[in-house]
């Protein structure tokens, strides 16, 4: 400023004074306001009392004196009038000059820009946090997905192994069933378990040259447990493994089986069975039942008509009552007849509308089957499936046809 001519320097001072509403305060060593001037009213400081303590009238002076550095500046200080001033402090011998210059316009402009910048920064921080959270969530999802895929793979392996084991078990069960035979009389059968492994089983074999035993049993439930019991009981009968029991005597056989297969030792499973022994020469049929559906005999009546009758017998299901007794029945089988031995899954068939297949309708279906000697048992299965409305039945379908 010293290089400037006095005229220019004075003009500049007037310019600053006019544009910045310059005001000044002079404070002595005792922190007393000794003088003031300029646009004090612009800052709401018109009522200052000369001779009074500065800090009591000017809050921003608290703790500022004595000045540690000079000049000293407080930027953008909001004044009582709401205007914003830069407050300059200058030490001059034993007094301090405080000069106020209005910076309201610059303050407002700076605030606008700073507001935008801070808003953007805060937004960016929130976005970064959100992205981090999303990435963490995504990583967690990827991890969970990978674990799920691994679990699924393991489950698939286990499932395939179990399927293979079930398949092998089913093959074993089927292998235990006898082959159809044609001499001296025809026997065939159809076995369709509702799952891979059912609870039905059946068999027939010669006890001696003139006695033919046949039976069908139905273990409650389905699946591996039922199939294991079914195969075990079937094997007991097939190998005549009931010590001291005459397998010609159906009641004795069922009584001994009941003792051998009490449900408290066999996973709470019980089963029904029908067991018969046919004497080839006399055509006598000795039989007994343990809660099993009665077989049906279909005989020719006249030239074309056929008639059906049941072979009823009473007795509780095997495995439920330790002291159960069974009774053998005997009948003479007429010539040219067919005997159908089956499980309840063959005739207890639900229709899609919820009604059940009538037993008479089932008997008539057997009569139709017997009327056409060349008709396969699959015809009966087809009839049952049509009645049920779908191929998968709710229970094992097992039927043995004997043409004595």
């Amino acid at each position: 400023m010293q290089e400037l001519p006095q005229l220019v320097a004075d003009s500049l001072l007037r310019l600053v004074d006019m544009q910045r509403f310059a005001a000044h305060l002079v404070i002595d060593e005792a922190q007393v306001l000794v003088r003031s001037g300029g646009h004090l009213d612009h800052y709401g400081l018109a009522e200052l009392e000369i001779g009074a303590t500065a800090t009591e009238q000017l809050p921003f002076m608290e703790g500022m004196l004595p000045l540690v550095e000079t000049p000293f500046l407080i930027r953008s200080l909001e004044m009582p009038s709401g205007r914003v001033a830069d407050v300059h402090f200058f030490a001059d011998d034993d007094v301090v000059w405080v000069v106020l210059l209005d910076m309201t316009a610059e303050h407002d402009e700076t605030q606008k820009m700073q507001q935008k910048a801070y808003d953007m920064t805060l937004l960016s921080e929130r976005e970064a946090k959100l992205i981090a959270a999303l990435e963490a969530a995504n990583a967690e999802l990827v991890r969970a997905h990978r674990e799920l895929a691994e679990s699924r793979e393991e489950l698939l392996v286990t499932h395939n192994r179990l399927q293979q084991e079930l398949y092998e078990a089913e093959r074993y069960v089927r292998a235990s069933l006898p082959e159809p035979m044609s001499k001296p009389f025809a026997v065939d059968w159809l076995f369709v378990p509702t799952t891979e492994l059912g609870g039905d089983s059946f068999g027939y074999h010669w006890l001696d040259e003139s006695h033919f035993a046949f039976y069908l049993l139905d273990v409650c439930g389905h699946g591996i447990g039922s199939a294991l019991l079914s195969v075990a009981a079937h094997e007991t009968l097939r190998s005549q493994a009931l010590p001291g029991i005459d397998f010609h005597d159906p009641a004795a056989v069922l009584g001994a089986l009941n003792q051998a297969y009490q449900m408290d030792r066999h996973n709470d499973l019980f089963f029904t069975i029908w067991y018969g022994v046919f004497e080839l020469e006399s055509r006598n049929l000795h039989y007994a039942s343990a809660g099993h559906p009665a077989p049906i005999i279909v005989t020719a009546a006249g030239s074309a008509a056929v008639e059906a009758r049941e072979l009823p017998a009473k007795g509780p299901a095997l495995g439920m009552l330790p002291l159960a007794r069974y009774q053998s029945q005997t009948c003479v089988l007429p010539l040219s007849m067919q005997l159908f031995l089956f499980s309840d899954g063959t005739f207890e068939i639900g229709r899609p509308d919820g009604s059940m297949l009538e037993y008479e309708a089932f008997q008539q279906a057997l009569c139709r089957l017997a009327g056409d000697r060349s008709a396969p048992l699959e015809d009966l299965l087809a009839f049952v499936r049509r009645t049920h409305g779908q191929d998968t039945l709710e229970d094992d379908f097992s039927i043995v046809r004997l043409e004595f």
Binding site: G63, M64, R75, L77, E78, Q111, Y118, E125
Partner: protein
Amino acid sequence: MLQKKICLLGAFGVGKTSLTRRFVDSIFSDAYLTTVGVKIDKKSVPVGDQTVSLLIWDIAGEDDVSAVRTSYLRGAAGYLLVVDVTRAQTLDVAQSIRERVAREIGDIPFLCLLNKTDVVEWDIPTGRIDELQAAGWNVLHTSAKTGAGVESAFSDLAQRISK
């Protein structure tokens, strides 16, 4: 009446002005309005059997390009160091300011205010707060939004600087 200058310091956007407004005027606004420069407010608080007039300097927050001018603390009896619990980096800024004040002004009483505690999701691990407390920091929880802890924080500092 005893008159004491205190300052509010911290990173930008931590709620220094909101805490002052809550304490002085009992009001709060969700709208964020940045502070440029300095605002000075005044409020009297009882301390024991006397009344202390607090001159509260609400100083613009620190950001990446402009640091808090510690020279503004000249003559201050104490300060409140404000942290936003939803932004962990504001604790780093607070620690930095604390070191500079201690170096340039000296060890004057201060309280660290963990502000915005009404927000459920904190960004600051409790382990870091434990470390600060172990280092001698007095840490208080505040919410300018609900007013929780605000009055007691200012009163606590008034007590400390009036001893």
